[in-house]
């Protein structure tokens, strides 16, 4: 066993013991919360690879318990900044030139420092034409995001260790498939280590929202972008945690909450591409009364058929129709065994009823995460895309509620759901089937 393996095993054992001691007298849900907290602290202690792994867990309620998902969402991806010299060295290796040769100004004091990358402010030396949108003039403020030297190697080495440990001990973990998780994580983190992938997605989002003056996506400076460095327009604004200041500046939080939720529904229902990591740090409210998206590390993709099925599930939710929600969930890959269908339908109905009861929690989070928890309880496999979408919707709802507590996220979905359903109803093959059925029903009535 390598020194790193011993360290990983040691940290997990220490926190497992701590959790066990603290939960000796606790009840079951509390015990899960205690262990979830210990896992989070262990992940933070073990560094970048585990911090990223924790972030992945935080968007996967389909694989992990509610307590662990909530705890991992609180993971702080903030590490001590590296000296500017180390970051400058990466820039020189990538471009063969110093930051001063590439930019008009470069700020040695970092704006942010996270497990994979460190971010510095700079200004453009010359005008740049982005892929989409207006030309960025010389002197325009940008941010330079640089992969921390050694972080890629450390993360990949840790992943290899984690894979070895999972292959050896993974069978002891009953709640999830450790090997599958590590494989998925491996793909996700390799994408994130190549900053050009994120830049390309940002361009696509900028194009998708090209006619929307309320949504801002930072434009990419491709001539100053490589695998380990991405340069993008600097967005100034308030995080969702600094809304008091935004309110003082006259920002209309309520309108922005509705607009932000609607914009997300558009991503899901119209474009089939959505920002799947919209926690408060990745979302700004700007002084121009707009919403700015940052950090496109995790993006969900949906086909037209999947979007139609999601619209049907949401329609089932809006009309308290568990049968419809289940039928279309099946098309999304949630296969309920015949012997469990009645139970699941009944429990889903109860979940919907509790949502619509006077005084009930009128939250998508309550329904979405409750539905996932119920499926897990019955041992029903949930496709990863389904879990990611449910978590993203719940997170968007949380973000929107921090701006406007009374927002009804399902209400914002209604126009999109209606449009998708009517589009789907107009399909010739569907019409053909429906008209035949209608004619047969009419004839039955006539001859009755």
């Amino acid at each position: 066993m390598s020194a790193r393996s011993r360290r990983i095993t040691g940290v997990f054992s220490k926190h497992w013991m701590a959790g066990a001691l603290r939960s000796v007298l606790g009840l079951s849900p509390k015990r899960r919360a205690i262990f979830a907290h210990e896992w989070r602290v262990a992940f933070e202690e073990l560094g970048p690879a585990f911090i990223k792994l924790g972030q992945l867990i935080s968007v996967r309620p389909d694989e992990f318990g509610r307590e662990l998902v909530a705890e991992m969402a609180a993971m702080q991806d903030s590490v001590p900044a590296l000296p500017a010299q180390a970051i400058r060295q990466v820039i020189i290796e990538e471009f063969g030139r110093t930051p001063e040769q590439l930019f008009a100004t470069f700020d040695d004091t970092p704006i942010a420092s996270a497990s994979i990358a460190q971010v510095h402010g700079a200004t453009l030396a010359e005008a740049v034409r982005p892929v989409w949108g207006d030309v960025l003039p010389a002197g325009h403020k940008v941010v330079v995001k640089v992969v921390r030297p050694g972080s890629a190697e450390a993360i990949l080495a840790d992943m290899a260790e984690a894979r070895r440990l999972a292959e050896r001990w993974g069978h002891l973990v009953k709640d999830f498939d450790a090997i599958k998780l590590i494989t998925e994580f491996d793909e996700s983190v390799r994408r994130e280590l190549d900053l050009r992938v994120e830049a390309k997605i940002a361009d696509r989002f900028a194009f998708d929202f090209r006619e929307d003056p309320k949504i801002e996506i930072p434009r990419i400076v491709w001539s100053r972008t490589t695998r380990r460095v991405v340069t993008m327009e600097r967005v100034v604004g308030w995080r969702l945690t600094d809304l008091d200041e935004a309110a003082r500046a006259g920002i209309d939080s309520k309108a922005l909450a509705i607009y932000g939720a609607t914009a997300f529904m558009r991503q899901v229902m119209v474009y089939g591409r959505y920002h799947a990591d919209l926690h408060p740090a990745n979302l700004f409210v700007t002084p121009r009364n707009t919403i700015a998206y940052l950090d496109f590390g995790i993006v969900g993709h949906l086909t037209k058929d999947e979007r139609e099925s999601i619209a049907q599930v949401l329609a089932g939710l809006a009309y308290r129709d568990p049968e419809r929600a289940l039928r279309y969930s099946r098309r999304l890959g949630v296969v309920v065994p015949p012997e469990t269908v009645d139970t699941v339908r009944r429990e889903l109905g109860q979940l919907l009823d509790s949502m619509f009861d006077p005084g009930g929690a009128k939250e998508f989070r309550h329904f979405g995460l409750g539905f996932i928890a119920m499926l897990r309880r019955h041992g029903i496999e949930i496709p990863s895309g389904y879990g990611l979408l449910v978590k993203s919707l719940a997170t968007v709802e949380g973000c929107a509620r921090s701006l406007y507590p009374d927002i009804d996220i399902i209400d914002t979905a209604r126009p999109f759901v209606t449009r998708l359903l009517s589009d789907s109803m107009g399909k010739p093959e569907r019409l053909e089937g429906k008209i035949n059925a209608a004619v047969r029903a009419a004839l039955r009535e006539l001859v009755a």
């Binding site: 040769q101 009309y319 209604r414």
Partner: protein, 119 residues
Amino acid sequence: MAGTDDVMRFFALWMLTHETADEGLKAAIKRGEDTGPGGMEGGPDAFVDGLAAMVQQEKEQLKADLAAGGVERPSADEQKLALEELRFEVAEMRGRMDALTGALETVVAKLDAAPSARA
């Protein structure tokens, strides 16, 4: 004469069905327009009413398009969308070219920094 009566009866039935359906549709459109966009939350019936109102809007638009000399609007929209997608693809390629130009400048800068290697 009985055969003629049957045919007449059939068309009368057809006309009655049509008339009844038409009245039903008009009533659904009226209800959908009265309740407005938020009214579709009232259940499947309200959804159908709302949908009927939307179809009515689309029909009025179609009539306007026909009166204006054709039904070019949807295809014009599709064309615009396809052109925009194409423009985006070209713009993306320009972005890649910018990145490649940057990479070439990097190679030149590295060669300049190591004159002995070039010699």
